[in-house]
Symmetry: D3
Subunit: 68 residues, 6 copies
């Protein structure tokens, strides 16, 4: 399955917090932490847990740029 989403960063899950509807998944991506807020339903369906090798997938239209 190939995705149009331009950004697919390999990482490892460090922490999963599951709420009633939304869950937060913290990934280690290179030397950065990346946070994803996805539905708790997806965490259960994909059985996401600490240590899983995953990809953080981000559509280019969702990326902003900041400059000091």
């Amino acid at each position: 399955m190939e995705m149009s989403a331009r950004n697919q960063l390999p990482g490892t899950i460090k922490k999963v917090t599951v709420g009633a509807v939304m869950a937060e998944v913290i990934m280690q991506v290179g030397d950065q932490e990346l946070a994803a807020a996805i539905t708790s339903g997806s965490v259960k369906r994909m059985k996401l847990k600490v240590g899983d090798r995953v990809f953080a997938v981000i559509k280019a239209t969702e990326v902003m740029i900041a400059k000091e």
Copy 2:
């Protein structure tokens, strides 16, 4: 200025393509490339160009997870 957006990844601009309304900015972030689609107006206002040190900023609700 502190931002609620959880993900702020430092990188360097590698390529800027400016269209009539939208522009694409390719950044090198660690050993990954990251693409951002922002308005051409923002590229001009911020004078974004190849070599600039920037941050890719991504709201946690925009990050998805893929697993093989």
Copy 3:
């Protein structure tokens, strides 16, 4: 590859319009048309063209509800 994005609707590409940075892909999904605005780079990389069998993928946090 399994995706956290909850909505993955099978369809067929009916029209592709490629601009300098962004492209529009119109899909037939059941008896509905669905429009996607993705980067022209992704259209080229995936060689998307009329007649291709694809999935429209939509994160649940991006779906709104309207009621008459």
Copy 4:
């Protein structure tokens, strides 16, 4: 009221889960299920409940494409 959002798919609510801040609404759209994560405040304001005839509204810039 006409909306710029290109995708407006008619459906029926099958399930509503309300959390402290976010709610999940599952709709039947044609022969597909569609999940929306909206605020619990909107579920209450619109009195959304199982059986309601609604539209799933999705901005074109939020739709991705996957191909096998």
Copy 5:
């Protein structure tokens, strides 16, 4: 038609720029300018033009917060 999107700000269109795929619409909302990037197809379908009274509609999950 009632929308789940929490933020619906009344304003007036000040400028419309139409590209091959995407268009930019600048609105005056109170004493602020607000920019929207929507598809050129929607600008044409809704016949959006300078002076139109419109609403800027924004899903709560798309709003970030910055603090100095």
Copy 6:
């Protein structure tokens, strides 16, 4: 820090509701209310509370237009 996000509206926080994963922040922006759904982690990190002077930041690609 300069941001590519085109819309940065000054306001004051009126209400904060913190859930397990997501939080809702209601701001007064001019004579309008604006709702943001951000992670509870960001509310804690930024110590957001009623009365804080903040900016609501919104990427142009996330703004839709409605017309009566």
